[in-house]
């Protein structure tokens, strides 16, 4: 057996100090090592009192005294973690527990003090890190996931489950996990996962995901390969960050920005068109004044007068036309209401009945998929009016005009389509000008080239868009996305 000296030296090597307690008189003596740890102090009171007062951190005094009493009176074992003030004046963590007492030894007890400062600090660091991780994950809506490609299993942490909006005990199906991505993202997702699984290429992408209830939302996803000891890829680990709110805001902002930019450029265009339009008349007027001045005879002068009449009439109609555009634009201040397509259309048909009857036009409407919409009623009527009169104006000479009007909902967005069997238009040649002002593509006398300009303006002013498809000699379809 080891003698005390050997034992002492071993305990010292392991940085373990100890007390010996005389159970009869409760007197405490401590090991050399303990004395060194606390800096070989000099004191007059008992070891125990000095320890409580000067060495033990105050937070543990009460507990320690209770345990100590229990040990000395009832021989009850204990173990406690506490902080001791060492020779450098700093507190360090120790584990204090009594050495297993043999039943027969009723005279002395041994208390061990083991330095656990490092492991305690590590534990704190881990707890702290875990706290930061959890808070960060919750605050940034970031969830972790792991795909075990060997055993074909998927693991989601709680935040991921929250993002996907599924119960905490939900087990994601391995084979079908692509259903959690919007269909348009499938090529991107499949390629990212495949490249990661096969070649270990990490990914970081913004994706539209689909939750359990088929609602789409945006995430930022990262994924990295997981290797086993043989450096084979056994899975993919990564995180999802729910960025739906930011993404939706970003998209809205971009959308508003686009609308503002196009409106701005239209305004700029409009200003030039106004100046051009008015100038073309005023310049004719200047020209005629010069001719009048230059005319030798009264007969020459009188011959010029009809021109003046024409110019003044044209000028007047140009100003009226511009006024009409400005008026239509300013309806924007009006509010949206629930408008029935059927009602709006019947209003338009009533106001254009003479044109419709004259041309023998047939209008077919199909509104059962979407009967009404929240819109500015005047806009909806104006849009229908422009598209219908447009279709009739540019009818095919060989057939009666047929106009098919349809509403429907696709991807939660309402649409209106107006198709005709008219002349059609070469979009390769005129496509980009279709909705410009004063762009007329046919030499009809009544084509003024402002209808589609106004229609586009109205649709875009309410956040929608308009597109056109057409085939020459077959017909044209205008599609409005509300």
């Amino acid at each position: 057996m080891l003698n005390d000296l050997q034992l002492n030296s071993i305990l010292e090597d392991f940085d373990i100090a100890y007390w010996k307690i005389n159970l009869l008189n409760k007197e405490v003596t401590w090991s050399e090592h303990f004395n060194t740890l606390i800096g070989n102090p000099e004191f007059s009171e008992s070891h125990f009192d000095f320890f409580l007062k000067e060495i033990l951190h105050q937070d543990y005094r009460y507990d320690f005294r209770v345990y100590f009493d229990k040990l000395t009176e009832e021989n009850e074992a204990f173990s406690i973690e506490l902080k001791l003030k060492l020779n450098n004046g700093k507190y360090r963590w120790f584990e204090c527990r009594n050495l297993k007492n043999k039943e027969n030894n009723r005279e002395t007890a041994v208390l061990l003090f083991v330095n656990i400062h490092q492991s305690k600090r590590d534990q704190y660091t881990i707890e702290e890190n875990f706290f930061y991780y959890r808070e960060t994950a919750q605050m940034t809506n970031t969830g972790g996931w792991y795909i075990d490609t060997v055993n074909k299993n998927i693991y989601w942490d709680n935040v991921t489950k929250k993002i996907i909006d599924c119960p905490l005990d939900y087990q994601p199906p391995y084979e079908e996990h692509f259903k959690f991505y919007a269909p348009e993202e499938h090529p991107t997702v499949i390629s990212a996962f495949e490249k990661c699984e096969k070649y270990g290429i990490p990914f970081k992408v913004e994706l539209k995901m689909r939750n359990l209830y088929h609602k789409d939302f945006w995430v930022r996803a990262t994924g990295k390969p997981v290797y086993n000891e043989e450096q084979e890829i056994i899975g993919i680990r990564g995180v999802f960050q729910d960025i739906n709110e930011q993404k939706v805001n970003e998209l809205n902002l971009q959308n508003s920005l686009d609308i503002i930019a196009t409106q701005n450029s239209r305004l700029f265009n409009f200003a030039h068109i106004v100046s051009h339009d008015l100038r073309s008349h005023s310049s004719n007027l200047c020209l005629i004044v010069e001719l009048l001045k230059d005319a030798k005879t009264n007969k020459d002068k009188i011959e010029l007068i009809p021109n003046v009449t024409d110019i003044s009439e044209n000028l007047d109609s140009a100003i009226n036309q511009l006024n009409e555009i400005v008026n239509k634009q300013s309806i924007l201040r009006k509010e949206r209401r629930i408008v029935s397509f059927e009602k709006a259309l019947s209003g338009v048909i009533a106001s254009t009945s003479s044109l419709i009857n004259r041309e023998n036009a047939k209008i077919v409407a199909e509104f059962h998929a979407l009967k009404e919409i929240s819109y500015i009623p005047e806009y909806l009527e104006s849009i229908l009016l422009n598209l219908i009169t447009n279709a009739i104006k540019y009818k095919h000479p060989g057939r009666k005009p047929v106009i098919y009007i349809q509403t429907y909902i696709k991807n939660e967005t309402p649409f209106l389509e107006v198709s005709d069997n008219g002349l059609g238009i070469d979009l390769d040649q005129y496509g980009d000008k279709m909705f410009g002002m004063y762009k007329t593509f046919h030499e009809n006398l009544d084509s003024r080239g402002i209808g589609l300009f106004i229609t586009k303006n109205q649709v875009e002013a309410l956040g929608g868009s308009i597109s056109v498809t057409s085939t020459v000699d077959v017909g044209t379809t205008f599609k409005i996305k509300f």
């Binding site: 004719n284 020209l287 230059d294 024409d310 044209n314 004063y438 080239g449």
Partner: protein, 140 residues
């Protein structure tokens, strides 16, 4: 005083303007003959026909081209006209004439080599005479 040029051409959809210019040309005897087209396409078809029939003697000495026209506007006409212009031996002077004072239009017109100048409507009588004078001598 003889005619300054043989044949002038106006491509413009503004009937009043065309009438007035016609009058000026008649009164001032600026050109013997006048070709008038109400849009770019009509003019282009005409020039293509000349090319096919090789009747260059009916090519104008001078063209006044408007920008804003239905069916085919001035820009589209210029883009098409570039392609066939070099087939003609005759020197044709082309002016873009518009009531647009948009600097972008001016820049764009100047970017075409075949455009001699960009004239803003109204063109004064004296300016008309000058233009015809210059081109008449050059053509003679």
């Amino acid at each position: 005083m003889g005619q300054k040029v043989e044949l002038a051409c106006i491509i413009d959809d503004d009937k009043i303007y065309v009438n007035l210019v016609k009058k000026i040309i008649e009164i001032k005897k600026l050109s013997k003959n006048l070709l008038i087209f109400k849009n770019g396409k009509e003019a282009l078809d005409h020039f293509k026909l000349i090319l096919e029939n090789a009747t260059e003697d009916v090519l104008p000495d001078i063209i006044f081209l408007d920008i804003n026209m239905p069916v085919m506007d001035g820009w589209e006409f210029l883009n098409e006209f570039i392609k066939i212009k070099n087939n003609f031996e005759k020197k044709i002077t082309l002016y873009v004439v518009s009531s647009s004072i948009d600097p972008r239009d001016l820049e764009r017109a100047k970017s075409f080599n075949l455009v001699t100048d960009y004239l803003i409507k109204p063109i004064e009588l004296k300016k008309f005479e000058k233009i015809f004078d210059r081109n008449g001598h050059a053509a003679a």
